[in-house]
């Protein structure tokens, strides 16, 4: 039984086991080496084991680079811990490099003293050349200061599978499972969940299934027998709030959230989209769940995608479209139409690095202003922004709740780092989730399409098919109440202010922004979106140093929570770290006339905790060395 022979309890005592409270491993190899799979399996195992985990993948650019080349390197970083963590870690403690290119690309991130596991078999002349190495790093002194462990992964793997009946290419494909087994041994992880996974995944392909299981065990045993490692490590369970958990990426959580919204509002979901990295996952995910009644439409372009979603909203259904920056640019005009016709359209916007095509597989937060202002005329939309992968679930639902209650287009603003990153998610009970109440106009008596709700200013939603409510809407300015076309100047002024006020009033319908730390102090670190983990971790560190620093992460970007002004006013200074050149900062400075400081980074990568920590010290001085 896997459990037992995996664990080999007999030999356990042979090497001493060191307790650690957090470890960060980066698996790096060629795109073909299955690093994402190895990383994910290690993540699941650790999560199931009870650690808190956080991960971040790093894919090569969309185009496949030649095998063995640096652009072809794919990596997956997982951080697992005995306490709760908020980021996948600034730097890895362990780097698994499956080929020279992977070593070249990632060694820079490994701190001296870090553990470096290299697959020696790939360090051939030609591979070294592909990685632009002039000499073999395993021979020179370039690796001095690292704890280098050389493993002939290829050879060992081939040996383990000589009997498998697979051809060499197939055998080679399971290298990653050998490496994975080795890491499982090193960190005392059980093999069973991965074995189960292989059994499901390759159910229809027993040879491959058995080969992967066999080589993984071989890797595990190799660690046990070969005296490569002086010690093993153990990271104890974290005490997470009780409940059922699963590991989830932001994009999956987003798709689940939208499906949930459909159930909670009891309205079928329509998803119109045109593929684009990193939003495509949502299209792929939703198209798998047709039994939820969701209809996915791969449109000819982004304009058709949002147009079709507007059609669905007009029809009285959950109209949803999703894209990334370049796609949103194309949707601008139609989103303006949705604002004018005041329909509950939701736009899932997964940011990537721009401008233009930019770096499609990397992340920035530089589309906030486009989301707010990228349309002609005064064209307000509501904006919600999850701060962690698992939060994407809640805010996907929230986006529809606000859109439906306030009859306004609403943007769900995520990014590639959230979308592809993962963390444990406490699985909710479906009936824990609050229903979304939807009011359709049904009574012809006194019906008018632009007769607003006095509280929310929302206009009535009258779906085609409802007898007696026949009416016409469109992109021309509408007369107050009747919705007739109007060129009256005062009406235009009034309607423009209504549209703005309608969105502004959503502030009464969203929770206050929460301050982590004291309600007042020297510095407030104010953030939005995926910077949450780094902001929080940095602030926790400086709080531990005794600095009067708190942080707050905005999940509602338009309108701002109503207490934001007051929150800000209680701090001497405000720091706004953003993966752009200061977009939220501009909004906050102008809204509250406060000289908020910015920390900007536009590298396509998330903030390191240390970067924020350093900026905090720069602003409020420090009682401790940095």
């Amino acid at each position: 039984m896997s459990e037992r022979d995996g664990r080999k309890p007999g030999k356990r005592q042979a090497v001493e086991v060191q307790e650690l409270d957090r470890v960060t491993i980066r698996f790096a190899g060629d795109s073909g080496d299955g690093m994402q799979l190895a990383g994910l399996q290690f993540t699941n195992t650790s999560a199931v084991y009870g650690n808190d985990v956080a991960t971040v993948p790093d894919f090569p650019a969309e185009i496949r680079a030649p095998a063995g080349s640096i652009p072809g390197v794919s990596s997956f970083q997982v951080s697992f811990s005995s306490h709760d963590i908020h980021t996948p870690g600034d730097q890895p403690d362990v780097l698994v490099a499956m080929n020279p290119a992977a070593l070249k690309a990632h060694l820079g991130d490994l701190p001296k003293g870090g553990l470096l596991i290299v697959n020696t078999d790939e360090f051939t002349e030609s591979n070294l050349r592909k990685a632009l190495y002039t000499e073999n790093p395993l021979e020179g002194d370039s690796l001095d200061g690292y704890r280098v462990v050389e493993v002939p992964v290829g050879t060992m793997n081939t040996r383990a599978l000589s009997e498998s009946g697979l051809n060499t290419m197939q055998i080679d494909r399971s290298k990653n499972s050998f490496a994975l087994g080795l890491m499982f041994w090193l960190y005392e992880r059980p093999l069973d969940s991965t074995i189960r996974w292989f059994e499901e995944k390759f159910a229809r392909n027993p040879e491959v299934r058995d080969a992967n299981i066999a080589t993984m065990k071989a890797g595990y045993n190799f660690g046990d027998t070969a005296e490569l490692f002086p010690q093993r490590f153990h990271v104890a369970k974290a005490d997470l709030p009780p409940g059922r958990y699963r590991n989830i990426t932001g994009n999956s959580a987003t798709a689940l959230g939208f499906l949930a919204a459909s159930k909670l509002a009891n309205l079928p979901l329509f998803y119109g989209s045109y593929p684009i990295t990193p939003a495509s996952d949502i299209l792929h995910e939703l198209s798998r769940f047709k039994n939820f009644g969701v209809k996915t439409f791969q449109a000819e372009d982004e304009i058709a995608a949002i147009g079709s979603a507007i059609g669905a909203s007009f029809g009285g259904f959950l109209g949803l479209t999703g894209t990334s920056g370049p796609g949103l640019a194309l949707k601008s005009e139609a989103l303006g139409l949705a604002v004018m016709v005041e329909l509950p359209l939701v736009v899932a916007m997964i940011q990537r690095s721009g401008p233009s095509t930019g770096m499609p597989t990397k992340t920035d937060q530089a589309d906030l202003l486009q989301v707010l202002f990228g349309r002609n005329g005064e064209s307000p939309v509501a904006v919600v922004a999850p701060a962690t992968p698992s939060e994407c679930f809640h805010y996907a639902i929230e986006a529809f709740r606000l859109a439906l209650r306030h009859m306004t287009p609403t943007v769900f603003l995520s990014d590639g780092y959230l979308g592809t990153g993962s963390e444990p998610w406490r699985v909710p009970e479906a009936d824990e989730l609050p229903r979304i109440e939807v009011k359709f106009a049904r009574d012809p008596e006194g019906f008018n399409p632009y007769d607003r709700d006095p509280e929310t200013l929302a206009r009535p939603w009258a779906a085609p098919g409802t007898p007696g409510l026949e009416h016409r809407i469109g992109g021309l300015e509408k007369a107050h109440i009747t919705g007739d076309v109007s060129y009256d100047g005062d009406n235009h002024d009034r309607m423009t202010r209504f549209r703005a006020e309608k969105v502004a009033r959503i502030a009464n319908d969203v929770p206050d922004v929460e301050v982590i730390g004291d309600e007042s102090g020297d510095l407030l670190v104010l953030g939005w979106g995926s910077t949450y983990g780094a902001n929080l971790s940095a602030v926790q560190r400086v709080q531990a140093e005794g600095l009067a620093v708190s942080c707050a992460q905005l999940r509602y970007l338009n309108p701002f929570p109503s207490n934001l002004g007051e929150v800000i006013s209680n701090f001497e200074q405000v720091l706004i770290p953003e993966l752009n050149l200061g977009q939220l900062a501009m909004l906050v400075r102008s809204r509250y006339v406060v000289d908020a400081a910015s920390l900007n980074k536009v590298t396509g990568r998330p903030f390191l905790i240390a970067e924020i920590e350093e900026k905090i010290h720069e602003l409020v001085g420090s009682k401790v060395k940095v």
């Binding site: 005490d239 058709a304 059609g311 007009f314």
Partner: protein
């Protein structure tokens, strides 16, 4: 807009039940009036409850039409009506959806959507008002304007070769393609009715006179005096005959149409017998290339074939999924994959 009481049922409806209180805002003498009139007349005959009828348009003079139809309506943005109609139909197949567009709206900025909605065969009735000009923006040439046309934006004459709307539709795999004329009331309402009853995308090009910016664009053959000699009515199963006494006919020499005098000599059996239901679009394509003055302009239903309707196929996949996996259950969904419990 004033609210309207629910009708007593489609059969009780008459044209006036489809007229809104909105003042019609087209230039006096515009061909759009006649198209509107036929469209309103058609509604009661369709036997569709008024609340289930939707008119969706883009931008252009033509696209004002929904305001004048006492049904649901959406005057959207330039060129995008087919996309909105697609989303609406996919979610609610109960609705009878019309798309109103123009030669600029549908073939210039909106050409791509037209192409894709037709290949998907979404069940929409698309009426393209072809006046060979941009009317609303006061007279620039359009993708159907004649080569060399002088307009505000082409004072020295347009150097763009025009598109043949029907050729475009046919090569976009359209399952229903027809042409009619604003002022030919009976033919127009008949053609619109055929289109409206077709399952799948029906595309109707209506020659429409813009008497302000492109007056008389079609008069050479559309004028009542010459119409029977310069246009040919297409009737399924009937030979292509035209002329006041139907004294002229068209036969195919290989793939080349030829005009022949019927009666003296030329025998009927040689004539091209129209088959709108033919799968192979070659003949439809040839018809789409026939134009005055080389040939009489073909009028009527050029192509009408059966193809699965897009939204039915989409619904089918949903039904099948439910069949196979049962109604989606959130709890099951949430627990997909590896889960673990923390006590």
């Amino acid at each position: 807009m004033t609210t309207e009481a629910a009708p007593e049922g489609p059969l009780a409806l008459q044209r006036k039940d489809f007229v809104t209180d909105q003042e019609v805002r087209w230039c006096p003498g515009c061909g759009d009036y006649s198209i509107l009139a036929q469209t309103q007349k058609l509604m009661p005959d369709l036997g569709v409850p008024r609340e289930n009828i939707v008119f969706i348009s883009g931008i252009g003079c033509n696209s004002r039409l929904p305001y004048y139809m006492k049904t649901y309506g959406f005057h959207s943005i330039h060129g995008r009506a087919p996309t909105i109609a697609t989303g609406l139909r996919v979610m609610n197949p109960e609705l009878k959806v019309f798309v109103i567009t123009g030669d600029g709206d549908g073939l210039s900025i909106g050409g791509n959507h037209l192409l894709h909605v037709m290949r998907r065969n979404v069940d929409l009735t698309i009426v393209l008002f072809n006046n060979r000009i941009y009317g609303l923006t006061k007279g620039q040439y359009s993708p159907t304007s004649e080569f060399g046309k002088r307009t505000k934006s082409s004072p020295a004459g347009a150097v763009d070769t025009p598109l043949h709307p029907l050729s475009v539709a046919i090569s976009a795999e359209a399952s229903f393609v027809a042409r009619s004329l604003d002022i030919d009331q009976k033919h127009l309402i008949g053609t619109l009715e055929r289109a409206a009853r077709h399952k799948g995308t029906s595309f109707v090009e209506v020659y429409q006179n813009c008497n302000v910016f492109n007056d008389g664009a079609f008069m050479e053959f559309a004028d009542k005096a010459v119409r029977s000699d310069r246009t040919v009515r297409l009737d399924h199963g009937q030979p292509l005959l035209f002329g006041k006494e139907l004294e002229k006919g068209i036969r195919l020499n290989g793939t080349t149409p030829e005009i022949v005098d019927v009666g003296n000599g030329a025998n009927e059996s040689e004539l091209w017998v129209h088959d709108e239901s033919r799968e192979d679009p070659a003949l439809s394509f040839i018809l789409s290339r026939m134009h005055w003055p080389d040939f009489p302009e073909p009028m009527g239903v050029i192509r009408a074939v059966e193809r699965p309707v897009y939204e039915d196929l989409v619904q089918g996949q949903v039904d099948e999924a439910i069949e196979r996996q049962g109604e989606g259950d959130l709890d099951a969904l949430f627990q997909e994959g590896d889960t673990w419990t923390v006590e």
